[in-house]
Subunit: 251 residues, 2 copies
């Protein structure tokens, strides 16, 4: 397949290098179009009011890919429209350093890279290695290659994308994969207030995971049991059940 890859940790990150290596070794044609600088937690931002550049990035004197001076969504747009060509078979965003589970998803630059592919009409996958401190990118990369041997990406739904989270363990310790539901796992945020040298308060955003019971079929439970979690996402945030309730009230 011809695969466009992007990420949110930036083109110089270890995760995208591993993704590139794994997909190439498996015989895929890979084009890298990824943010030139780290873009974590950018959500689905795009660059509208200023132009972007696509800089050629070399690793060990070999052309590696395009470093885009924008967001993951920008990188996918320009990757398909100007860099890789429109005959891309698949968009993969990752391998992210850290989980994208539950309510991480709207904030996630990694997932937004895949959702941008979905909006543009391409089969798309986001992939993350859950532990930012000891990510085990290889486990995630090898899992993806194996998964793509079995799974036909043409069955990925129009306007949909798969969100894959991989346990950060050696590959032989992964128990398999489970299709999962996005959970309500979320952070309990707080701000740490400090005083700047000019006498003004400033704030660092902090947060701890809110522990709560989650259903057995949720993304977080699969991960905790050392399964790969694969959650089907849609770009639409519309709530049909709630719509039906409201419609009754409209009269």
């Amino acid at each position: 397949m011809k695969i466009l890859i992007t990420n949110d940790d930036g083109i110089h990150a270890e995760g995208i290098a591993c993704l590139n290596d794994c997909l190439r070794e498996a015989g895929h044609e890979v084009v890298v179009s990824a943010p030139y600088t780290e873009q974590s937690a950018t959500g689905h931002a795009i660059t509208l009011r200023k132009p972007i550049w696509a800089k050629k990035v070399y690793k060990k004197d070999t052309f590696f890919g395009y470093g885009v001076t924008g967001t993951p969504a920008d990188s996918v747009k320009i990757g398909i429209l100007e860099l890789a060509g429109k005959d891309v078979d698949l968009v993969v965003s990752g391998i992210n350093r850290g989980a994208n589970l539950g309510t991480d998803i709207p904030y996630s630059g990694t997932v937004s890279g895949a959702l941008e592919g979905a909006i543009m009409g391409y089969p798309s996958i986001a992939i993350s290695s859950i532990n930012p401190k000891e990510p085990h990118f290889c486990t995630a990369g090898v899992f993806l290659v194996d998964f793509l041997k079995e799974f036909d990406v043409k069955t990925i739904k129009r306007f949909g994308a798969l969100n894959i989270n991989v346990p950060s363990v050696q590959y032989d310790l992964v128990k398999g994969f489970r299709y999962t539901k996005q959970s309500s796992r979320r952070f309990d945020d707080y701000f740490e207030k400090r005083l700047d040298p000019y006498g003004n308060d400033y704030f660092w955003l902090m947060g701890d995971i809110k522990e709560e019971e989650l259903p057995e079929d949720s993304d977080w439970i699969a991960i905790q049991k050392n399964f790969v979690s694969i959650t089907p996402l849609t770009v639409f945030m519309y709530d049909h059940e709630w719509y039906q309730e409201l419609k009754k009230m409209e009269g």
Copy 2:
């Protein structure tokens, strides 16, 4: 009600001034916590790697609100946790200059302000005046005040938010409101390539609306018929139908 308001056009924008005036005149207590600078198309970005400031902004020597050196989602987080207090009854994001319909939603800073309120557990509404050139903010502001007289915000679903788009016409020309479905209305993107003075290509993102037939109950059709469109959104992007199909294949 005690209402926290934010936007993505920035605290100095006309839309949030109008929203503030309309809500105050209707007797609500309003706290403004909005980005200090314009943050259009930032999606659900948050600021993690650097701190943020909340600057007191005055208009005509009167305290107007807090200008946050971050995104709409940052402004809501700090607005609730540090500025307004946790006893907020409602979060309103807007009034945006321009529509947030169909696939605009994942990119929208305005909608992300409301979705952040939803993630934090507060009833939340995003409101936009559809024409960026002639927005008619007053129509949107007056509509919202009237709507809040009838609609109990406590019925807004946990993890849900209402996305309101208002036609940019005089109030008496608005035909009423309709609960709608998020449509697949989207842009056909392209890049305009130019050469910078240093010999490098750079790219401006451009796009035209892709014309296609949309269902009668969609957001865009309501707007075109001069109805206010109210779409119920969820912060979850999980696709349950697709999940059920995948689960069968899991074996």
